[in-house]
Symmetry: C2
Subunit: 176 residues, 2 copies
């Protein structure tokens, strides 16, 4: 298949969740070197009314898990939000990656025109599968992954765009 | 067509560039109310080695323009990076939105397996069209749009997730 919903969702979540886990490893090493309690990083936010790093990572995994489960037509599993350490956040990422592997990509591919219903505060939101991926799941997922990265840059962690992009399927050649 | 490359790119850029223009309007009003020179906001960055707001907006439009042009198989037009005011950045967004309207969506849809070559520092990057959209253009676009939003939140602008998501095609209903 030349272009499909599963291709535009599952590998994107996998690449960025793996990249996020690697960034958290760098944050752990940074905290050790600087003799900072890693919990200080986890509680940092870019504005008083924005989520802290812990919550940004939790919500990134929620978007990947719930978004892809709904596209696959199954009820997304619920995770408790109890993480207080980098190791626990990495375990949540690993659990999410394992869950993604269980999904039926054919079901996801067949969801482009199927109505997806999802909670929206006290209301419900309704979009077809293609719109749900393009205009709800992906922007929300990228929002929280970028916010997590930006919080750590703001704290002084030396990471760059390659850490954000992760292990992308690209070939590099020298310009003539 | 149930799911296509043009559908996963053009409307995404349109929605978020319009949302970014609306956020810049709110930033202009905020600066006026607080008696802040808007240039102070435009020069704010989340870390000394990250782009400031001006550059985040410029690069957001670059990703949309260059990414979609390459998928459509045409040479992307070059824009000079000379903006110093919110009005000029909004004009660049408007110019980008007008350019997106000129692209042939059928060409974009046919690019899933075609090799896309793009500059990468002094080297060249090569990816097929589907990978290029999923793993280069969209993550980079969302990165810079989110960074622009986060800079303004950090400055105290009262905007929320709806301002970020923009005018998405969603139906809302009251839960039973």
């Amino acid at each position: 298949m030349p272009f499909s919903l599963s291709q535009a969702s599952i590998p994107v979540f996998e690449i960025h969740l793996n990249a996020l886990a690697a960034i958290l490893d760098k944050a752990e090493a940074f905290a050790a070197t600087k003799k900072i309690d890693p919990a200080v990083l986890l509680r940092t936010r870019l504005a008083p009314d924005m989520f802290d790093l812990t919550r940004q990572v939790q919500v990134s995994t929620d978007q990947a898990r719930r978004g892809s489960a709904r596209l696959a037509g199954i009820e997304p599993p619920s995770y408790e939000d109890t993480e207080t350490t980098i190791a626990q956040l990495k375990a949540r990422i690993a659990k999410t990656l394992a869950f993604l592997k269980t999904l039926d990509t054919k079901q996801i591919d067949a969801s482009a025109e199927r109505e997806i219903t999802f909670p929206l505060g006290n209301d419900k939101g309704h979009m077809n599968g293609a719109d749900y991926l393009n205009h709800s799941v992906l922007p929300n997922f990228y929002f929280h992954v970028t916010a997590a990265y930006a919080i750590l840059r703001h704290c002084g962690l030396e990471i760059g765009k390659r850490d954000f992009l992760g292990a992308i399927p690209m070939r590099r050649s020298q310009a003539a």
